[in-house]
Amino acid sequence: MSTVSFATAARDQFLGGEFRRSYSWLTASVHRLVGSRNDAEDLAASAFTELAGMEDISHIRQPRALLTTIARRLTYEFWRRRDLEREYLEQLALAPEFSDASPEDICEAIDELLRIDAALQGISAKAREAFILSQFEELGYAEIAARLDVSVSMVRKYMAQALTACCALA
C-alpha cells in the first residue's frame, strides 16, 4: 500500500520536474517546424500527455529523447491531417453536390480519412493504390492489374493485405 503511494508521488515529481524543464524547450522545437505558436503548444502538451499516460516511467533515462520521439509522431500526424484535409476539401469544392455538407459531416469524414490513411501506412504503395482503385473507383481486378502493371494474382494479394490492415481499424 505504502509502496504504491510512494511510486505515485515519485511519478508525479518526475513528470512535474520534466514538464518544468522541457515544456518550453519542446514547444520551441516544434514551433520552428509547424510555424504556429498555438499548434506548437498543442503538440508539446499532447506529447507530455502521452508521456504521463505511460505505464512505467521509472525506466526512462532520457525523457527528452522520448519526448522528441513522441513529438515527431504527433507532428507527422498533424501535418498529415492538414495535407489530407486540404486535398479532401479541394476535391469537395470541385463537386457542387457537396455544397450542403455540414461542417460536422466534413469533420467526421476527415477523421475517418485519417484512420484509413494510418491503417494503410503499413502496406506498400501499390497495395494501397490497388485498394483505393477497388474501394473508391470500383475497378475490377483485371483493370487494376493493368493500371499497376502487375498480375491479377498480385492484385489479390494486395487486396488481402489492405483488407487485413482495415481490420485493425477501431
Partner: protein
Amino acid sequence: MTLAAAEHQAVMWEVRLREDDIGASVLNEFDHWRTAEAANEQAWNALQQRLARIGGTRSRDGLAMARALRTPATERRRALRAAFGLLVLGCGTWGMREGMHGLGLDADWQSAVGERGEGLLADGTPVAFDANSRIYLAGSAQSPRLKLHQGQVLVKSWPQRDEVLTVSTMDGAVVTEGATFNVGKLLERSVVSVSRGSALLRPQLGRPVLVSEGETFYFNGKEAQQTEMPFGAVSAWTRGVCVADRMPLAELLDIFGRYRKGLLRVSGRAAALQISGVFRLEDIERALLQVLDILPVRMQRYGSYLTVFSAA
C-alpha cells in the same frame, strides 16, 4: 498483422467476391462458409461494417476520399526525420553532460551565428575564431590549452619557446612549441593546417603525426590523413570564404550553418556526395544555389527554419 482464423477467412472471401466474374457456385460456397459457424458470420459482419464506414463509390464523397488518400507522405516523413534527427542528437548530448556545457553555452569564448571573433590569450597571443565557435580555455598562462568544442580557431602566432600550446577537439590534440596554425572541428572529423613552424598531431586513439610547415591533415579519433589543401584554403574562413575540395556535402552544410540560422539538413545518399568549390560565407543563400548548380541534388524548404537537400 495476424488475424483470428475467422477474420482472415472473411478477408479472403471479400477479396474473392470482388473478382470480376463470380459464378453461382462461388456464392453457394460463400453462403456455406458464412453459415457454418457463428464466428464466421460475426467476422464477416464486422468487416462489412468497417468497409461501409470507410465508404466507397456508393458514398457520394468517395472520389474525394480517394484523391486525399493519394496525397504522398514521403516528403513529410523525410523532413521530420531530418529535423528531429538533430533534436535527438542534441538530447543525447544533454543526457551525458548536464545543461549548458553540452551545448557549449558556458564556453570561455563563443561567437554567434554569422559573427567571427578575435581574442588574446593571457600572454598576448592573438587568436581568431570562426562564427558559431565554442572554445574552452584551460592549462596555465605559460602553457595554455584551448578546447575547441565546435567551430574553427586560428592561432596567429606562437613564437618558438619551451612551453607548449595545445588546441584539442574531440578527435584529438594539436601541440606546438612554435607555430602559426589553424584547427577546425568539422562534422565528422577535424582539420589542422600549419602555416609556419610545426606541430604534433595526436589523434585521440591513433599514432601521433608531425605536421610541418605548409602541411594539412584531416583527423578523426583513430587516424590522421594528409591532404593537399594549402593553409590559405583551410583558413579562408578568416576572409569570409569557404574552400571545399572533394568535401562531403553534409560537412559543407555544417560549415554553412555557422553563418545561417535555421537547420540545413541533407538526407540519405546525398550526404556523402563530394563537392568542390569556393563559397562566400557572407551570402549563404547564394552558396546554397551554387550547391544546386554543382551537384545532382534538390533543395526543399519547410518554412524558414528547415531546409533539406536530397538526391535529385
